[in-house]
Each structure stands twice: as structure tokens, then as C-alpha cells.
Amino acid sequence: MGIKKLLIANRGEIAVRIIKSARELGIKCVAVHSDIDRGARHVLAADEARCIGEASPLKSYLDMAKVIAAAQASGCDAIHPGYGFLSENPKFAALVEEAGLIFVGPRAATIALMGDKVASKEAMSKAGVPVVPFVKGTEEFCLKEAPKLGYPLMIKAIAGGGGKGMRMVSAPEQLKPALEAASREALKAFGDGRVFVEKCIVKPRHIEFQVLADSHGNVVHLFERECSIQRRHQKVAEEAPSTALGARARAAMADAAVKAAKAAGYVNAGTVEFIFEEPDKFYFLEMNTRLQVEHPVTEMTTGIDLVREQLLIAGGEKLAFSQADLQSRGHAIECRVYAENPENNFLPSAGKVHLFREPSGPNVRNDSGFGSGDEISTYYDPLISKLVTYGATREEARLRMLAALKEYVVLGVSTNIPFLIDVMAHPEFAAGRTYTDFIPKFFEDWKPRREKLELALACAEYRHGRGSPSGARAGAAERSYNPWAELGPFEIGTGK
């Protein structure tokens, strides 16, 4: 059957990324956008675009009826949800199918199962996939049963995600107040105050396996990604392969990932997340039923275009390769470049990007959704781009990443680039000792280095003296004598 025309229900870098693979397959692409995004990169990259409402995501990108109506009106036969927005909404997946369109992702029932943190764990446990021991029930029941798991404990919201409603408990007297606080927080954030308690894994790593499953029952894995470098439960940098896995642990986890996908009746690209405890213990954490932000590191190391495979699978095709055909070669690292101010508690920094110069070169990939002159809005995720480097070895990829970050120019909004440079340069990261406490442990009091501060001030003073094109500054420049302003352009290297 094959997809002929695809609506991309997303924006930013991921929408641009999806369009690129769809194009290669000869699929026409329709972008949807909010009114403030009318000139955005994903709109410019598509074959056609439709405005679906106001800037607020609830009135545009999250409006299921509008997205589906746009697909029908433009003659699309499929919708790719990207990540975030409607990608893990079982109701949306069901509505798309009811409208007679292909949803590029798993079935609605699979999304619903995996979206329920406790039900998914129970299903996985039944399928023989190890899960972190946990208890759920009334507060009274948790108070009685949870301590039997052994401290420290972690309280999590059943409906949760993103760190909300989460509490670590390291001693018995903290349990009751922590249960109450977590439940209050969960109720406020998700409208559902139910929580569960699980054993807290000390010094964990976050390792996930990419899987691909077609609608003919074939499931393969594309090896792992390590995502332990996180700030407040948000991933900052990812890599493949993991420095922690030996051949045996990798094989056991891959096997569990494939088993998990099969047990869930999974179709399309998915990610099985594990908590890993050295040397070889692992537990199922959750399954992400969509394309992951960090999918490019797998594409770099396996040579498989995951979006292309998603579109082929959704079109009903069989996987063109078997597990034995897949290999992981070399090493890839991804850094998430955000419009945020690392000097001001990483608060989002919105505004106009006046100058955007991306790094490039052999084995450097930058998936971005912005360019010079674009506005970064407070309405959406502040991700500017995902910078990915590849090398024969981890060290080669790491040094390439450092060089690429240092050549990346973004003027107009603050970015976390200086922070990423210091993460990549850190001896613990270089040694591959990446645990989930890496950032709180080594970057608590981080401040950007300011080695070029005086030269930057000199540049500002030079530009100040030249005056602005409108001449608004001319008066001030005349009053303060500035010999450099009078010199004009110089010939460099001729001694003139």
C-alpha cells in the first residue's frame, strides 16, 4: 500500500528531520503550524503547509481534531506525530485510524499500555523482563510493604513523567511525609494523586534499546544508547554504544528488549528503557512508543535511517533486514543544544536568533529547526538543535564534539553550548564514567569560563564606535574620541 502523502503533526527540528526521510521515499509532505510559526523552518521544508490555530499548543499542535482535519483536507493518507505533542496519546492514535488514516507508530492499545507506568511493569514482569521491585496501593499499604524492598526508595506518580511527583526516601521516618508530598504534587501536575514506591537503584545508568517491529511479526533491536547525562531528569547528552556494557550484558538486555516489544504486540520504532546497575543488573523502566529525540546516535552507529523504517513499516512493508544483518560500528555522541541560560539557573531564553552558524564537517550532523532571523518562542520546547558527532572510537567522537561545539555560533539568545563544552571536556565523561548523578555531582556550582571576556568587550567597543547603521549612535561616538573608528578597514599582513 505505501504512504503517498504524509502530514507531520509537529514542529522544529524533528518535523524537518521527518520531512527529509519522507522526501527520499517519494512521499509528499504537509506541515501544520500555529500562526506564529508560519515562517518556521518546518513550514519552509514541506511541500505544503496548513495553519491550524493559535500559538498556544493547546489551540494548535495539541488539537487532535484540527490536525486530523488538516490531513484529510490536504489529501494525506498518513500522520507522523514526531515526539512530544500527540505522539504518545492513545486517543489520538485511535482517532487517526478511525479517520481512515495511517498513524506512523504503534497501535493505540500499545500506547495506552506503555503509558501506564504500573500496568506496563506488570505486563513486562509477566513476559519475563526484569523490573525494579515495587509496591502500589493505599498509603497505609505502602507504609507497611515498601520498607521490605529495602532503603533507599523512590516514590513515583502513576500518571507521571518529567520528575514531577517523584521523591527519594533514604530513611523510614521520611516515608510518610514523602508519600503525602509526592501525592499532592502528582495531583497538581497530572490530576491523579496515585503514587507507587519502588526500590531505588544506587549509582544507576540509564541505558535504552532501540527496537523496530514490522506488522508481520518481525522484531529486531538496533543496540543501545546510553542516556545517563541528565539534568533534573532531562537528558542532556546521549551516546552509543554504552561504555558500561560488556558483550554478555548487552546480549541479555537486547534479548529482554525484543521480548518486551513482542509481549506488547509492538509495531513500528520503539525504545525500551532500562535502569542499569554495574556490573550486569538491569531493570525495565518504561517503553517509549515513538521516535526518540536521541535516535540519531543509533542511525550513526548502525547506518539505518529510523524515520525511513518507520514510514516503510507504517506502509505495511516487511523489514528488509534481519538481526544478523545489523551491526553497531564506531561511536556516536549527541548533545542537546537548548535556548536556555546556564548562568541563570538554565531558565529558557527566548527571542530572535540574529546569527546562526552551524558546525559542519566529516561525521558532524546537526539536526536543527532554526536559522538566522528566526524567533525562539516561549510557547514551545527550547531545543535549538541536536548536535551529533561520529568517530571510530569514543574519544574521536568526543573530541569531534568538542570542536563542533566550539565552532557553533548562536547570537541573540543564550544557549547551553558553554555548559555542553565543559561536560564533554570533563575527565569523568572522557573516562566514560557516566552515571545519572554526573551533573548534580560535578556541575552543581558550574559557571561559564570567561577566557575571552576582554576581547569580547573590545569587539563591542569597536562596533560601538562604528555606530549603528541608522546613525542613532553617531552623536555619542563623536563626543568620545575613538581613534579606531577613524582607521577604517585594515589590510591584514601587509604592514599597512
Binding site: 547570537l411 541573540g412 570567561r450 567597543e461 568620545s480 581613534p483
Partner: protein, 162 residues
């Protein structure tokens, strides 16, 4: 000579015939600049040339030099509009990031104590309280509830009590 700020810090920058002075200390000997078309700028330091990118937006200079990026604000010493006015008895509360006013808790003429909540703002789903930095009297509330502001704009002005 001109005054600049980076964050809260103030810098005095002066070009002399034989070098650049920052806060009166020599920062570099003989720098020669060449403006390229667009934002590119060449900095000749002795025999080596360092590339830089500078974008000017009013009084703000965004500078990139060798992998480091700075947001540098020029302080206009002649204009009565500059921030030194605030030191002379008036304080302005500047928006730390772009966002929207959720709630205004004071009005012009109100007396406030240091730390009093003046306004609640929201940016990217996070709420932040704007508190009075010192005792004073509200001179002006520049934005109403539901209004959107940009980074660096004055939200509330406070006069010191007389």
C-alpha cells in the same frame, strides 16, 4: 571610553593608541579590527588574526569570540534614560526572561517592604515571583495581567521612600 555591563558586572573599556584597557588594566596590546560584510569581524593581535562575530541590537552587543558568547550591554553615559538614574533613588525591576504577567499584586503609589511580592510572571510553563529588592513606593507598574513582555523590559518601577 565607554561603559558596558555583562549580567550584573560593569566594565569600562577604552581604546588607547597602544592597546585596549578594560577597567583601567591593559587587556591587549595593539588590536586592529576589520569589519567583514555581515556580522564577521577580524581581530588582529600582533601577527595572528582571530575571527569574531558581533551582532548589534540597539545598545546590546552579542559577541562570539573563539567559542565563547557574550551579551554585552552598553550604558549610555549622556542619556538621562540610562540605568544610573535608577541608582539615584529609583529602582527598575527588569524582566529576567520573556513571558507573560500572571498576576499583578501592587499598584502605583503602594508602599512596599523589601521582599514583598509585586508580580507573578510565567515563562515556558514556569511561574516566578517578582519581589521588591528594597523598601519603597511603587512608581509605576508597566504591564497588566495577561500582557506579554520581552527579556530586559522594565516590569515595575520603585521609588525609595523620601
Amino acid at each position: 571610553m565607554n561603559l558596558y555591563t555583562i549580567g550584573e558586572e560593569k566594565f569600562e573599556v577604552e581604546f588607547k593608541k597602544d592597546g585596549v584597557l578594560v577597567n583601567g588594566k591593559e587587556a591587549a596590546k595593539s588590536v586592529v579590527f576589520e569589519q567583514l560584510p555581515g556580522e564577521g569581524l577580524l581581530m588582529k593581535l600582533g601577527d595572528s588574526v582571530l575571527p569574531a562575530f558581533v551582532h548589534r541590537e540597539g545598545d546590546v552587543f552579542f559577541c562570539w569570540v573563539a567559542g565563547e558568547t557574550y551579551k554585552i550591554c552598553a550604558l549610555d553615559q549622556d542619556s538621562p534614560q540610562d540605568s544610573s538614574r535608577h541608582e539615584a533613588g529609583e529602582k527598575a525591576l527588569i524582566a529576567p526572561m520573556p513571558g507573560k504577567v500572571v498576576k499583578v499584586l501592587v499598584k502605583a503609589g503602594d508602599g512596599v517592604k523589601r521582599g514583598a511580592k509585586l508580580m507573578i510572571i510565567e515563562s515556558m510553563k514556569m511561574e516566578t515571583e517578582i519581589a521588591a529588592p528594597a523598601d519603597g513606593i511603587i512608581a509605576a507598574v508597566k504591564y497588566g495581567e495577561g500582557e506579554v513582555f520581552k527579556e530586559g523590559e522594565v516590569l515595575v518601577e520603585i521609588n525609595k521612600p523620601v
